[in-house]
Symmetry: C2
Subunit: 218 residues, 2 copies
DNA sequence: ACAGAAGTTGAGTGATCACTCAAACTTTTT
DNA sequence: AAAAAGTTTGAGTGATCACTCAACTTCTGT
């Protein structure tokens, strides 16, 4: 009786997943309700039983995406390695794999919607912003774990947002070029930047060790 | 007679400029032919006299954008300053001004189209790619002019593409946040990266001066 | 002055858009 | 077992989509 797992919490979630994927593949405006309905194997009325409008569906898809980040994106990355820096590049590599799998198409689902709908739909913009914030928070957490390998006064959250910046910009150029090189280059420059920050940290620390006394405070 | 300047090479170009602006403001799919025609003050038939289809119009708009880059974007920046590094940040500042003027909307016209249409329209993708290439070529030219202020073996073209990466990623996040801070932060990190490259260059050069003799080759 | 080309007009085309709803079916509650 | 609530059906709605075309006006060359 009570042991019955929710074997059919289907329809609503199937619509969300289908819409999420189609918005990712084709964009929001290019995806018609008819296509979503066909791909999800339901009828229009069912969709409108769960969602008031296409715009409402978009908002729910963006909320779905927030929940999707942890299990489908971050968890696999954190399982692969525990080193903070390696995690960052494993995360970028995972998006890269998505590009390879789709033949340099699609890119980041949130990034695409960010440019397509955030000007005309304030609620969607908010949710996109929250998606980005969650993403960057996770990366900032890793950078904080990196501790003394980075300059003490370095703003971890800012650098995390920069990682997102580089990823989104790199994905955009890779799609335009139909070639992953621009993305790989961007990641390489990011890696070099982190390396330069770390070297500077090491240099300063070794200097501090040589002169262990004073004049650090203020 | 021959002195008559083309006082009315209007319609075709007015359509292109109107479409360019509307695609920038609303995106390609969200902009109907009816809107373009109304804003340009013409009739549908006139548009289809010059352009075979909406997709063809998009391609011509993207070609128009290639010609637009030099006079409307690069020339003003180069007029403002002649220092290579300052030119880069003047260019970024110009896109920033566009965001301020539009209330954190719109972003980069080419970048928006890159994410919206490059998957489904190969010819458009090519033209978007060429737009990006031209943009990055100009920046790469500046970086080359920077000469010895950067490491000799540093790939100028790659760094120029990275500048584009940072700009596009920064604009995307600024639009999602409805706040220019993410963009400003990204530019600041880019500035810091260039600064680190320059410091490393200076350090190496001064070391080379101290030991002016050999072992540089190979 | 005149013909042909170039450009413009705007009502009209079928297709597709997001969306509706009364009726039927299924599950849950009592 | 009956009532209530939840879910699904799918043909159908008006609005808007990209696009057409025959008639008309304006340029251009001779």
């Amino acid at each position: 009786m009570s042991a019955q797992a929710p074997l059919e919490p289907e329809t609503r979630e199937r619509i969300l997943r289908t819409a999420f994927q189609l918005f990712h593949e084709q964009g929001f405006h290019a995806t018609g309700i008819a296509t979503i309905v066909r791909e999800a194997g339901i009828n229009p009325g069912s969709l409108y039983h769960f969602f008031d409008s296409k715009d409402q569906l978009l908002l729910q898809v963006l909320e779905f995406a927030i929940g999707y980040l942890e299990p489908a994106v971050m968890a696999p990355v954190e399982r692969r390695t525990s080193d903070p820096f390696e995690r960052i590049f494993a995360l970028l590599a995972q998006y890269r794999e998505g590009m390879v799998a789709s033949g340099c198409r699609m890119g980041c689902p949130i990034g695409n919607l960010a440019l397509e709908v955030s000007d005309s739909n304030p609620e969607a913009r908010d949710l996109i912003h929250r998606n980005f914030q969650n993403w960057a928070s996770r990366v900032a957490g890793w950078l904080t774990e990196a501790g003394q390998r980075l300059p003490k006064q370095l703003d971890r959250a800012q650098l995390a947002r920069f990682v997102l910046t580089v990823m989104e910009g790199g994905l955009m150029q890779a799609r335009a070029a139909n070639d992953l090189r621009p993305f790989d280059e961007a990641v390489a420059v990011l890696r070099q930047h982190l390396e330069l920050l770390r070297r500077r940290t090491a240099r300063r620390r070794s200097r501090a060790v040589r002169r262990p006394a004073g004049k650090r405070r203020r």
